[in-house]
């Protein structure tokens, strides 16, 4: 009750109004958008560069030592289930992230050297796996094997056709 009474003082009301004001302005149709069209286009392009890099790494046996790549078992990123992480992963014995699982796959089935969790390569792999599941509802801990989003043509994401992949 003391706290409530204190909140209703004029001083605090003014403070609350000053905090809410920017939020109200953001909902106003006349408010400036956070980024310009050029800025969002640039952001999108940078993301897609990472997705493409992740796609190349995903299909590159050089991450391992036995000829296998992630794509052998996970075509189009299928069954990487990015929407289900974090979750308790039995073979890792802890609540883990997709990056932990990618490293486990590199270390065990691919017999390779795990990546630094914050490396550009790891972020690119995560970007690829996640982008191939765009639109799938986030469901941490869900016991589900997902076949990635259906693809009819192209690499599975928008890109300039380089003729390579």
């Amino acid at each position: 009750m003391n706290n409530l009474r204190r909140f209703t003082t004029t001083k605090n009301l003014a403070l609350a109004a000053s905090l809410l004001l920017p939020l109200i302005m953001m909902n106003n149709a006349n408010a400036k958008t956070p980024f310009t069209a050029a800025e969002t286009a640039d952001q999108k392009e940078r993301l897609m560069t990472a997705v493409k890099q992740g796609d190349d790494l995903w299909h590159n046996p050089k991450l391992g030592s036995n000829g296998l790549a992630c794509g052998n078992c996970h075509p189009d990123g299928a069954a990487s289930n990015p929407h289900t992480w974090p979750k308790y992963q039995t073979n890792l014995g802890k609540v883990s992230t997709l990056r932990d699982m990618i490293n486990w796959c590199i270390a065990v089935p691919l017999a390779g050297k795990p990546l630094a969790l914050d490396s550009d390569e790891m972020i690119a792999m995560e970007a690829y796996a996640t982008y191939t599941h765009r639109g799938v509802a986030i469901a941490p801990g869900k016991d589900e094997q997902h076949g990635a989003v259906p693809v009819t043509s192209g690499p599975g994401y928008p890109n300039a056709n380089t003729g390579n992949r």
């Binding site: 036995n66 075509p75 073979n91 089935p109 259906p150 009819t152 690499p155 992949r165």
Partner: protein, 338 residues
Amino acid sequence: MSKLSRRKFLGMSLKAGATTMFAGMFAPTATSLMGFGGIAQAATKKISPFTFAVLTDAHLYDIPGHKFDAILEKAVADVNSISPPPDFVLYAGDLGQSGKEAELVKGKRILDKLKMPYKIILGEHDYYLDMGKAWRGLFGEEYWSFDHKGAHIIGMNSILVDDFWTLRNLTPVERMGYMEELECNQCGAWGVQAKQLEWLEKDVKKLSPDTPIILMTHSPLWDYYPRWNFQTSDAPEIHYILRKFEKVMAIHGHVHQVVYNTIGNISSAGLLSTSWPWPYPPVDLPYPDIKMNRADPGDFEDGLGSHRIEIAQNFDGILNYRAFSDLLPDNVKRGIII
């Protein structure tokens, strides 16, 4: 349900384009054999019952002591342990991974340990480095047929694509690299192509419609998920050539999974690999009751296995998936009717 009325019923459902609607009702597992007799039609011609085994998709690498070598060895030993021994073994393609002769030689050395004769077809991984030269040198014809105890058994090369490499100036290694990727989006759709269709037409011309037909291809003879070449582009032509037969049993590799479909007179079953399992693609299965469980990535034998097929006097077939780990739900464990 009598045979005639069941056939009529299925014919109607096919025309209505609603086959999947009845999938659950007629899930052709050995369990449903008791109630419905399965969905696959029995042939009227009586044959001598027999069994055969099937292996596929070893994807051997040219790396000494590679883990997939041991799994193919295990599959061969498993088939050799079946009692009574199967009459023969069929191998449904992708013996190698990158089309290298060393991979195929290693595979042949392991397959030659089978105690019974075997017949083999090509997968795309065996082919696109040298366009099948090494494979033909080791195994002979790319497509073939033989008769066994009243049944006619056919193997075909279903992984042929139109030339995508010449205009791009790809080297053989690069061409193989493209094909090695399941989701290759530059390679195009596979098929058996015109020459084999002509051959098939001639091959079955003199056979009476009651002849039981077993047809093995690397890819499925139905549009499952074209993106991953879980299809054969000229499957409709194959269906047309084989339309006169009472029953065609089709088996295929490539999908690395338990999957079943039936279209008209052709029942079709996918096979387990001896390399890695594939997840189900993002489409509805026509027979969702016939599927495998998720494989445990920490168990390198999970999702893999060999197969035994039992053919009865009336050409009822039961396919037993012999999974190396705990992969199969109960209904599939008992075998599926094909």
